[in-house]
């Protein structure tokens, strides 16, 4: 902590004023102290918000895109050291610890199935294909914690239109890279590998849905799903599949990894829904990482105005 008072302190290490001014919020609540474990004090420490300079900056990455939230962003360190990516281990800190083993070049993404223009696109060509923009989205994990993350990417919709889907393309199925030597988790039976996810066509085309290739203005770190991942902010985090190698357009609802693992607990849709409880977690509230008190969870993670229409007439308790 004393090291931050150095005169040569890089600006990236300075706590933003907003966070600094809110520092006492973390201390609110003497009740917590009564338990003997004063977690609130953890909030006193200035946190590194900006990414380290090791990862290259992305062109146009700071151009703000639509739908951005003005909520305080979750520090870079938390976004990159606390997440689920079972391919790299089941502990929240495992993905960061094992990230170096994943090779992200060379990398191609195959687009196939019910499209007029099936093709295999090199990752760098894919990143260069559309102007990048920053999308500051809320991320709600099914485990009842949440973050605010400045992704860098491009909407999936225009890419899909370039591929010219046929009339039989009703769903989009995504697949993560399968490489047990690079991703030790794939040597365990924590899930069936490779990880697969899926969206209905209208969900995939929705302007909120993006392919993310960066974080905090720089290249996406491996542990967060490099080189390219899906971000669907109104669904639980596990729907936003990481390290994608294949995107297939299909006529019937594709299998999804967590649904295959436990169909009672994880549905195909998995829209954030405070009304539908999970057997392990109440979904009525959530802990925003960095905050002491839980906050109320919003339907569709607060994106109801944008996406509720997609599900008009559907029983979302049944189609959870």
């Amino acid at each position: 902590m004393p090291s931050i008072w150095r005169p040569d302190l890089p600006s990236s290490e300075i706590t933003p004023e907003g966070l600094y001014l809110r520092r006492r919020d973390f201390l609110a609540g003497g009740a917590a102290a009564a338990t003997g474990l004063t977690f609130g004090l953890a909030g006193c420490k200035p946190k590194v918000v900006a990414p380290p300079a090791e990862l290259p900056a992305l062109p146009g990455a700071t151009k703000p895109g639509p739908f951005g939230t003005a909520e305080p962003r979750t520090p870079y360190k938390d976004v990159t050291t606390y997440n689920n990516f079972y391919e790299l281990g089941t502990d929240k800190s495992d993905p960061a610890a094992n990230a170096d083993r994943l090779k992200t070049r060379p990398w191609t993404v195959a687009f196939e199935g019910e499209i007029a223009k099936p093709q295999v696109i090199d990752i760098d060509a894919l990143i260069a294909r559309f102007p990048l923009e920053e999308r500051v989205y809320r991320l709600r994990c099914v485990e009842a914690w949440s973050m605010v993350i400045p992704w860098v990417g491009f909407p999936l919709g225009p890419l899909i239109k370039q591929l010219e889907p046929t009339s039989r393309a009703k769903y989009v199925a995504f697949t993560t890279k399968l490489a047990p030597d690079e991703m030790p988790g794939q040597k365990t039976s924590a899930l069936e590998w490779p990880y697969v996810e899926g969206l209905r066509m209208d969900e995939a085309l929705h302007p909120l849905t993006i392919l993310a290739v960066g974080l905090y203005g720089r290249v996406l770190p491996n542990q967060d799903g490099a080189p390219v991942r899906l971000v669907v902010p109104w669904k639980y985090g596990f729907k936003s599949i990481k390290s994608i190698v294949r995107v297939r357009f299909v006529e019937t609802q594709p299998p999804t990894s967590w649904n295959r693992q436990n169909a009672h607990e994880y549905g195909f849709y998995s829209n954030v829904n405070p009304e539908v409880d999970h057997p392990r977690w109440s979904q009525a509230n959530e802990r925003r990482i960095g905050e002491l008190r839980r906050r109320v969870t919003l339907a569709f993670n607060g994106y109801g105005n944008e996406v509720a229409g997609l599900y008009a007439g559907m029983d979302l308790r049944k189609n959870f």
Partner: protein, 216 residues
């Protein structure tokens, strides 16, 4: 010689008792220093839960250890380890109650009823309370040893519930909870093997059904 052995056994007790407090001290220190990661509340709960189960199994270990090695001195650790288990489960529950849920009693009530891993965990916590309260010599005397012993057999139920709590808690990677389940099973099997040994082991009485007394 006997005095020396007694002194050693006392030293072992103090050392093991102190060792069992190290994880709690470490978790407290890390929480204070902001070193418990991005989600310190969940991390503290998980760690305290892990050590609760570890100490619970340690509390159940002395009898099987005696069966296998003949050592008697670990038997004298049981009350201390049991009370330390209770301390850890209290801290685990206190973090859930006061920090994680912030005394939101309706939400906690729903958790206990609807989330089965919390139902069994809470039941295990409740069942440990009478055991902690009757851990004194005075209570053993007041209850009478037979009744006291019967009451304290609840610890096996508590251990089972505790392990189930962990198994039901994890989403898919069952390796760690199943390790606890295996350890508990091993401890119980050794106990059962011990009770099934014929009472007078000097003569092979098992083959003669007439001599085996009916078990109550």
């Amino acid at each position: 010689m006997a005095a020396r052995r007694q002194w050693l056994s006392r030293l072992a007790k103090v050392a093991i008792g102190a060792l069992a407090m190290v994880p709690a001290a470490r978790i407290g220190w890390l929480a204070w220093a902001g070193q418990l990661g991005a989600n310190p509340i969940a991390e503290a709960m998980n760690r305290l839960g892990f050590w609760t189960l570890t100490l619970l199994l340690a509390t159940l270990a002395p009898t099987p250890i005696q069966v296998v090695t003949g050592w008697k001195w670990p038997l004298r650790l049981r009350r201390m380890l049991g009370l330390e288990t209770f301390l850890y489960v209290c801290l685990h529950f206190a973090v859930y109650l006061g920090v994680d849920q912030f005394f939101d009693l309706p939400a906690i009530g729903k958790d206990i009823v609807k989330r089965k891993f919390i139902t069994v965990g809470f039941a295990a916590f409740l069942l440990l309370i009478p055991l902690a309260l009757t851990s004194t010599d005075g209570m053993v005397r007041r209850l009478g040893f037979a009744r006291w012993k019967r009451l304290h057999r609840l610890v096996y139920l508590v251990a089972g519930l505790g392990v189930v709590h962990f198994v039901w808690r994890v989403k898919s990677d069952l390796r760690q909870p199943l390790l606890f389940a295996a350890a508990l099973a091993a401890l119980l099997v050794i106990r059962v093997l011990k009770t099934w040994r014929p009472p007078h082991a000097s003569r092979p009485a098992r083959s003669a059904p007439a001599t085996s007394a009916p078990r109550a």
